[in-house]
């Protein structure tokens, strides 16, 4: 009940902020279009599209959640909630539900544009793609919430984005395949959730066969979401110094 009320409240906050909604929903589609014309080759575009479809839900939700929860911490609303019957999980799941719904909208539009106008050939199943995108957005939400605990200002909070994002992209196998990296880097790559998210998205878009590799990737990303939620919950203390 409180979880749903929280999700509704966060969606209402989004609704009152038209510009943020427009940026959230339109930017991924615009970048897909830009990428299509930059590459100017349908086959190469098909290789890059899954990466972008994975990155956007994660990136945008990470940013939005870390700023939104930082505001809760600094404005006193978090203190008010921590003095209320709300449980930490209500807040976390509320954010997850609200931003998960926003992510579905975001991916739906980017995907529609890609599949129609840009002629992307989806070999796998649509639900698999949406599942991966949703998990990525939840991962971004949970990590954003966790990271906001270490930021004192919005300036600091946005700086966590490159820190969390860029190493995961460099090591995620988009630029250099993971098995061609130096051994140490491959080990690091093996423990970063984005490596699995990128692979799962690639499988969902490009292969018609969702075998054990796909489900292992899903399990790893889902496990990472749970871990990040637990870490996020640990930063929401009823009592603060």
């Amino acid at each position: 009940m409180i979880t749903l009320a929280t999700a509704r409240r966060i969606l209402a906050q989004l609704r009152n902020d038209h510009r943020t909604v427009a940026l959230m929903v339109l930017v991924p589609s615009l970048i897909m279009i830009l990428l299509y014309y930059v590459i100017d080759n349908g086959l190469v575009f098909a290789q890059w599209a899954p990466a972008l479809l994975s990155i956007f839900p994660f990136l945008v939700m990470f940013l939005v959640t870390s700023i939104a929860t930082l505001r809760e911490r600094t404005s006193g609303t978090l203190e008010r909630l921590m003095a209320s019957p709300l449980r930490q999980l209500d807040l976390l799941l509320g954010y997850g539900l609200a931003f998960g719904a926003a992510a579905v909208l975001q991916v739906a539009l980017a995907l529609t544009v890609s599949l129609t106008w840009l002629g992307l050939d989806l070999r796998g199943d649509l639900w698999a793609l949406v599942l991966v995108a949703l998990l990525n957005s939840l991962l971004g939400t949970a990590l954003g919430l966790f990271c906001s605990a270490f930021a004192r200002s919005e300036f600091q909070a946005v700086q966590f984005m490159p820190l969390v994002m860029i190493p995961q992209l460099l090591l995620g196998g988009i630029i250099v395949p993971r098995d061609q990296m130096a051994t140490v880097l491959e080990w690091i790559s093996n423990v970063l959730p984005m490596s699995y998210a990128l692979e799962a998205m690639k499988l969902a878009v490009m292969s018609g066969d969702l075998g054990s590799d796909f489900w292992r990737d899903i399990a790893v990303v889902a496990g990472s979401v749970l871990l990040a939620l637990v870490l996020g919950a640990a930063t929401l203390k009823r009592r603060t110094p």
């Binding site: 009320a5 404005s75 006193g76 003095a83 019957p85 009823r238 009592r239």
Partner: protein, 242 residues
């Protein structure tokens, strides 16, 4: 004294350390039920820290705080205490009524509560205005309205009347008086001494120690002064080692 047997708040030996500094040095006092108790003292004397300890959101170094018969911070207390922080804690990107509906849902308060508290703080005309577009005084009233949701048995208000014009302040004090008559215990912090006279009991705090814990009349009589500002100064002088 019309205090019932059990106090609303009982504090013994409360010590709070923030950073390397001890902010509260072993405070002990009681707040009687169904009265307005004022927590007075200059800014930086530990009022907010004390209030946070009572609400159960402050890490405490030692001592005991019992609220409505339970240890401060207990889960059962979270529905019984209305808490208003010093900075208006409402969402700036939600309208006043959206804020109230959300916090009412969190507290499990009746659906009619948002309308009731809007009227109590006199914000009916601003229900659909976004928090971020309210004036300072309207913001603090909106924040106060949230703490009135769910008809709490204890109201803990940290400087709720800052930035309000005299007419509004008078109206809010009438509201507090009405609530106290219905048996609600109110602990209210202020650094404005003229508000102290409206309380039934005063706790004066200075540099983390209790300077006085008495009724306004008792304080005036003890210090032989007509107004409470003078009484406060007299008490500080008394404490100073000769």
């Amino acid at each position: 004294m019309m205090s019932s047997a059990e106090p609303a708040i009982a504090v013994t030996g409360l010590r709070v350390v923030r950073g390397a500094r001890e902010v509260l040095h072993g405070l002990s006092f009681e707040v009687p039920k169904g009265q307005i108790t004022g927590l007075l003292g200059p800014s930086g004397c530990g009022k907010t820290t004390l209030i946070r300890s009572i609400v159960g959101v402050q890490v405490v170094a030692g001592g005991e705080v019992t609220v409505l018969g339970r240890p401060a911070g207990s889960a059962e207390l979270r529905r019984l205490i209305g808490y208003s922080t010093q900075n208006p804690a409402i969402y700036r990107d939600l309208s006043v009524v959206e804020n109230l509906r959300y916090f009412a849902a969190v507290l499990g308060a009746p659906k009619t509560d948002p309308a009731r508290v809007l009227q109590e703080v006199g914000l009916e005309g601003h229900a659909d205005q976004l928090g971020g577009t309210l004036s300072g005084g309207q913001l603090s009233r909106a924040s106060l309205a949230v703490s009135l949701l769910g008809s709490p048995r204890l109201l803990v208000l940290d400087e709720p009347t800052v930035g309000l014009d005299p007419v509004l302040r008078k109206e809010l004090w009438e509201l507090f008086g009405g609530l106290a008559e219905r048996g609600v215990t109110i602990l209210i912090s202020s650094h404005v001494m003229d508000e102290a006279a409206r309380c039934q009991r005063l706790i004066m705090l200075r540099e983390g120690d209790i300077l006085a814990d008495d009724s306004p009349e008792g304080l005036r009589a003890r210090t032989g002064t007509a107004d409470l500002e003078q009484a406060f100064l007299r008490l500080i002088e008394e404490r100073q080692p000769a």
